[in-house]
Amino acid sequence: MSLSILRLARFSARGLVRDLRAADVRALFVALALAVAASTMIGFFLDRLDRGLTRQASQLLGGDLVLEQGHPFDAELRATLEEAGLVLSDQVDMVSMVSLADAFQPASLKVVDDRYPLYGGVHVDQGEGVEVVAHGPSPGEVWLAPRLALLLEAEIGDRVRLGESELTVGGVVEREPDQSAGFGSFNPRLMMHRDDMEATELVQDGSRVAFELLGAGPPAILDDLAPLLERLRRDGVEVRDVRRDRPGLGSALERAERYLSLAGLAAVLLAGVAVAMSTRRYVDRHLDTAALLRCFGATQGELSRLFGLQLLWLALAASVLGALLGLASQAALLALLTAFLPLELPPPGMLPLWLGVFTALSVLVGFAGPTLLRLKRVSALKVLRRELDPLPASAWLVVAVASGVFGGLLWLYSGDPGLALGLLLGGLVMLMVLWGLGSLLLGGVLRLAARLPRNGREAGVAQALRLGGAQLARRRTASLGQLLAFAVTFFAMAMIALVRGDLLSTWEAQLPAETPNYFAINIQPHEREAFEASLSGAADARSALYPMVRGRITAINDMAPREAVPAEARGDNALRRELNLTWRETLPEGNRLVAGTWFDQQKESAPGDWYAEVASESATSPEAERVPISVEDGLAERLGLGLGDTLTFTIGAAEIIGEVSSLRDLDWDSFRPNFFVIFPPGVLERFGHSYITAFHLDDAEREVQRGLVRDFPGVTLLNVDAILAQVRDLLSRVTRAVEVVLVFVLLAGVSVLYAALTASLPVRAHESGLLRVFGAGNRLLSRVQGAEFAILGLASGLMGALLAELAAAALYLAWLDLAPRLHLWLWLVLPLGGALLIGAIGHLLSRNLRRQAPATSLGLLGET
């Protein structure tokens, strides 16, 4: 006689409904719902982002094919592309100053033609509300980003000054169809028509200007063009092809995405721990049922199916609630990050939902599976001999299965098996270290609690702390697990607070007062002396003027750069974009040689005039010139370069081979112009170049700034403070988004507490029943329970503070190059906040225990 699936389904569902009264089932439900909520929140968000990026790839890229270089494209190339069937549109990107009356502001210029945009529409307010139009600004007018309009206090119809010309504000751009990236993206957008470009006189030799040629057409055309595109790449043109180079997010967002995924999985992991804890109690409670059913004739298979189905219903119900929570939270996440998202996102899809359900089931199987097997192994004889409990699942088996399943989830979510394995193994090692650390800390706190005075005025509190400490000590392993869960959560929250508040301001505060706060770029050679003269009176801490030439690395040791460098450096920006090159006789201030010798020591006889020499050499050999170069140490390390290696640069139409003759260490925080590659004098002078410098101006010297903007309209002034404000804003929003996820991590931590409390309920009931029999009042019991959780919270806070302090010290040393310092507030806020928060939650969750009469509590042992 066996149970049909339908009957089993009904039976298990009925059993579950009856079981909902039990605390362990509720704890299981909450933990599973949280796991689903955390994973679907991240899932919905990333899925929408991903589908948005895929669907709008051509639009985001600006076309199906985008070519970019530092000088205009020639007519021959245009003709070839048009003949192949592409519709072409020209675009120029650069940074320049724009001013209106007394206000001036660097802006990221986007110069478009009549064919703009090739895909999508521009959301623009031209005075009659935001509308979507399929064109850019007309000649004579500019469209501003809302922020730029605000900074300049510009209104539609105002005339703004741009280089040598004045243009009318014709609209405010809410959203562009194509995303822009790079240096300019910190500055607000100004869009203008290309017919106005020449009159501004902004484009000069050596200016930082990107010329783009955008093409739209069917994919087959791109296939036909493949050899041409490959040749262009070799010639140093940056080629973006919609199928190969799907546009991504900015690096801050990409990093945030990774943090979100990891934080989400941390919540899943904690929920898994809660599931494991509540399952133990669930199984203990159902051993009698299982034995009785065995006695009445149920087979092992039927028992497995019965309890398996019961938990399946529970997981499905938890998935529904979790998915709703996840859906709501991803909307919150989106609201925080929407300003940084370059696109309109499609509505949430179904995939993350299935992924959420799958996650819940995996967590259930992984964290509850081995423990659940006990139910099936129960002997029918237990009905006669109560002591006949099946052996508990081996702790190693539980950890191994849970690790395996969690590793699988890591793989699924990261899509990278190596990373998943690394995280898993690293996590396990970290767990062992933290376990040891937590054990020491908890031991210390408990010893302190045990030493509290036994009499005196504070005896009431001391007694509660002593008894509470003793209760924690009795459940040491479970307590330690909870301690780690909370400590890691507190640590993560403290790091967020530190990164957002402390790190940036500490770094700023340690900069000398005279640190340059302005960069001036695009200074033309003929303006050089006048510019220096304007600065000499006012600016202190001025750096030298460095000439700047744009060039691209097109070969390393005569091989294609991508083939010559280590695999992880293939996507390095230094290989994808043009580099700013300079020349210099002496080692720049703040630079330090770490290998090789500087140019003047190599050519003692005739320092300087390399050009004469290479010119005479190139007269005998038609091959490219070969000169010594100095390379920044970090770049050399990334690209795997050493002394004697050669880099081939394409500058304009010329090729120059540089042989690495020295490596330099430099201080990127100095706010001076820094260069990856420096040439000796006499090589680059013949190419078009502009100058860059950095200087310090006080707020009181605004007149000097105005003078510079007025006298040198083609020069762009970049204010470091404004850039830092932008960074802070971005950081603040991204960290807030991570906080949304951390709330789930904290909730998952609370679910661990709830599960642990549930698992220890019978023992706790027994203990408090006995205490009552011995004369303890409700007040004392309440205090003891409060004290137990407060000690747990205190210890978690201490450990969280310790971890945060260590991590902060590492960041200070590695990133900011500063001596680590103590953050006293961490040591106050985390332990006290932890004690209050965990004390209150524990107190609340255990209130039922205090309501029971001693007889009930004592009789409760072994039952719900």
Binding site: M1, S2, L3, S4, R7, F11, R14, R18, D19, R21, A22, D288, T289, L292, L293, R294, C295, F296, G297, A298, T299, Q300, G301, E302, S379, A380, L381, V383, L384, R385, R386, E863, T864
Partner: protein, 230 residues
């Protein structure tokens, strides 16, 4: 007539540290359909061990044992469970009611394992028969010991079991309540024509059975009914 329960040369040994303890040795018993059989013995004589073996909840160390004509040694644990399903009922000393289930749900429990369309109706009827028709939705903790044992009686008979095992059914009850439970047990047994195997140390209870066996030093001896009164 074929015995419903038959054992020969039954041996049960357990390991206690290094030593082997023999609890049952060369034990024989035959129980025929419709019989009521009491197994008497001192505390620790191995009565519950014997009951566990006879019901197929445990396996003997040696000897032959058959239930419903089927050799239990030929069946694995699941096979023995299937043999019991719907055909064997149990009454325990500590009632073994599930604390989270109501009286009705407790009685329904064995019916979940044997397909019937009228399960609930049947469970209600049997609870009414034991006088608990009004207490269907009560949880065990809301019932007295005697009432809990009556729920257990209803649960033992509700499947139409051919064979009911009772392990010290009055062990946890006061004499007057115990008396009423015994009355109920025998009256239900008569109505249903069930075979009853009863393990007890209560002679008054044993006397009401057709046959009495004494478990002593691991073996069963038939007792004359007048001997039981002693």
């Amino acid at each position: 007539m074929t015995p419903i329960l038959h054992a020969e040369h039954l041996i049960k040994q357990v390991r206690s540290g290094e030593r082997r303890l023999t609890i049952l040795s060369d034990l024989a018993i035959s129980v025929f359909p419709g019989e009521t059989v009491a197994i008497l013995g001192q505390s620790g004589a191995g009565k519950s061990t014997l009951l566990g073996l006879l019901a197929g909840l445990d396996l003997p160390t040696g000897g032959e044992l058959a239930m419903f004509g089927q050799r239990l040694a030929d069946l694995d644990e699941d096979g023995r469970a299937r043999l019991r399903a719907g055909r064997v009922g149990f009454v325990f000393q500590n009632f073994q009611l599930l604390p989270t289930l109501t009286a009705l749900e407790n009685v329904l429990l064995p019916l979940e394992l044997s397909p019937r369309t009228d399960s609930e109706q049947r469970a209600r009827e049997w609870l009414a028969r034991v006088g608990l028709g009004e207490r269907l939705d009560h949880l065990p903790k809301q019932l007295s010991g005697g009432e809990q044992q009556r729920v257990a009686l209803a649960r033992a008979f509700v499947t139409g079991a051919e064979l009911v095992f009772a392990d010290e059914p009055t062990g946890n009850l006061d004499p007057a309540t115990g008396e009423r439970i015994i009355d109920a047990l025998f009256s239900l047994n008569r109505e249903a024509g069930t075979t009853l195997v009863l393990v007890t140390h209560d002679h008054a209870l044993a006397r009401r059975c057709d046959r009495c066996l004494r478990l002593d030093h691991g073996r069963l001896e038939e007792m004359a009914l007048d001997e039981v009164g002693a």
